[in-house]
Amino acid sequence: MERAVIHLNIADFAVAVETNRSPSLRGRPLIIAPQGSPRAVVYDMSDQAYQEGIRKGMPLARARRLNRNIPVLAPGFNRYEQVMKDLLKESVAFTPLVEYGSFDGHLFLDVTSSGRLFGPSADVAFRLKKTFKSAFNLDPIWSVATSKLVAKVATRLVKPLGEYIVAPGDEEAFLATLPLHLIPGFTKADLNRLREFNLFSVSEARRLTLEQLKIPFLQKAPLIYDWIRGMDPSPVRAFSETASTLSADHEFSNDTNHAGILKKTLYLMIEQICKRLRDRNLHGGGTKLILSYSDGLQSLSTAKLSPSTSNDMVLFKKCVLLLDKAWTRRVRIRHMRLICETLCPPMVQADLFAPETRETKQAALIRAVDRIRNRFGHAAVQTGLTLTGETSSS
């Protein structure tokens, strides 16, 4: 049985999310790019900006020279990620096999086995499109095919709006007339190489045998040989909250560079994550802190946790160092994200007659705090650090 793969693609995803926040920008040229760096490049742009010659990856300075009047917005990666999570929630109602990018508006669903429950794949795709539109005001292009590769080519063909169903068995014929640059996987260098041989379309490239393809492309040749025939066995990788990570986010209602507020927020996020770790009887083996500045730039710092831990205070000690490391600019911070990675079961063999140490005392305190909060709610008991006067909201 062939697979039934749906590809949903929200064209100009970042622009779509931003114009949903500011509807007055809809239908106008718009550039999404970080503004704080002299070497910033265009992250995304509206169709109208595209018509003006703006392209993804173009230096922002050059884009501005093309048209000074186009408004530039800083990217809100956390927002894009949150929207992707919302889309994922709707998608997993149809199949657990959903693969999605963090910020790019692309989702692949493998619905091969859910036909009996939800009906034909085209109908599932259509229903999801309607749901995305009604619930999030996002209008995806959709396609149905037997592989991710063919489904992606199909959405590329109808961009920025539309749908494409490639019937099983029709893949080769469907691809035959298309230009090679529409096939995902080809790099610029690959395409240039093919151009050197006067090969521009899929049908032209198909004339080459595998042996002939191996001459310019070496190990990549078998892949290319399959791609141009619509063969792509790569599975739709199931989402599983990246099973080994936990994360907490905070968006400041007013951008801030106040150390007290940042530390307080950090501690609250640590409390959240550590509680979830303890509830699942897990420890974190690594941590990552991402700061998003008000101009759209981000900075990141990571640290290993050795030994692994679920102790709020131990983790806070580590994360304060991370905050110092990541916080390198004077620009105010808009968003903070803490990720706890490499989750593992606690590997602690307790001593029978363990002496009371600072750590064991902390652990006992945390257990007591957990018990109180489980019974009376989170606000029933708080650490002094989080009681500081400055407030912020997420």
Partner: protein, 278 residues
């Protein structure tokens, strides 16, 4: 009996669950389903043209896969029935005409099925739109399926007769507001019957798998066989009979059984993949 030629089939043919139900042999790939389907039926409704605008090259390839006598009923794209855009729909008609051109050229088009949504009531706006749509599609064999009972009106039927457009007789649950079960011929060239199943509970569930989950009982099919033989066949040169209750392979099973009944082979059950003589 007149020389009415019947085209019996199902709404769509590419369903994985039809392998499990035994209609398609074990291990049948989606790409081979049409090859198996044409051994049992002489016509099929193309559902996918409702979801997306038909594309001539794909249609061309499909025509090459079926025998000469085989017919397709192509459902009109949703942008012309369910999601009409005021200023764009004429362009959509043009694109649709181009998409189905291979069917016309190869004489494999039974008709264009215009399935209207349940909210498409007989209001002034919708009446005007339908008239304009039928004008725009003129020259093509057309069948109109109403889902709202406000269209049960002699004026509607006589207008369809005047235009030689087929009214689709539907078999669906007895629910308020739904188009009733009729046996009418408004076009002497073609009558059309669609069997959606009578699952009243699942009809408005929002799930196709519930809406079209129905297995017609023999008495229900016998009643229809009689209606078709006495009421519809004498009035038209050809007839399209399609089962849309695709869930668990009930559509092909019921379609084959109805064919048996129409051929008066009422006694035995039709085996899967039995050749059609109609």
């Amino acid at each position: 009996m007149t020389a009415c030629r019947l085209y019996t089939g199902t709404s769509g043919y590419s369903y994985g669950e039809w392998v499990d139900s035994g209609f398609y042999p074990d291990g049948t790939h989606s790409s081979n389903m049409l090859d198996c389907y044409i051994k049992a039926f002489h016509a099929v409704e193309l559902n996918y043209t409702w979801y997306q605008m038909p594309k001539a090259p794909a249609m061309e390839r499909m025509c090459e896969k079926v025998p000469e006598h085989f017919k397709f009923s192509a459902k009109l794209t949703r942008t012309l029935t369910h999601e009409i855009q005021k200023n764009l729909w004429q362009k959509e008609v043009l694109a649709f005409r181009q998409g189905i051109e291979p069917l016309i050229r190869s004489e494999k088009l039974l008709c264009i099925l215009i399935q209207l949504p349940p909210y498409f009531e007989r209001s002034a706006d919708f009446r005007h739109y339908l008239a304009a749509l039928l004008d725009e599609l003129s020259g093509l064999p057309l069948a109109v399926e109403f889902r709202h009972d406000s269209w049960v009106n002699d004026k509607v039927f006589s207008e369809l007769e005047r235009r030689r457009i087929t009214l689709v007789n539907v078999d669906e649950p007895d629910l308020p507001g739904l188009f009733p079960r009729l046996s009418m011929v408004t076009n002497p060239d073609l009558f059309y019957v669609r069997f959606h199943g009578r699952n009243a509970k699942g009809w408005r569930s929002g799930s196709m798998q519930k809406q079209f989950d129905y297995d017609y009982a023999d008495p229900e099919l016998k009643e229809w066989a009689e209606r078709i033989k006495t009421g519809l066949m004498p009035e038209a040169a050809a007839g399209g009979i399609f089962f849309n209750n695709h869930v668990r392979g009930q559509a092909p099973k019921n379609a084959l059984r109805l064919m048996d009944l129409l051929l008066k082979k009422g006694g035995g059950k039709t085996p899967w993949n039995a050749p059609s003589f109609i």
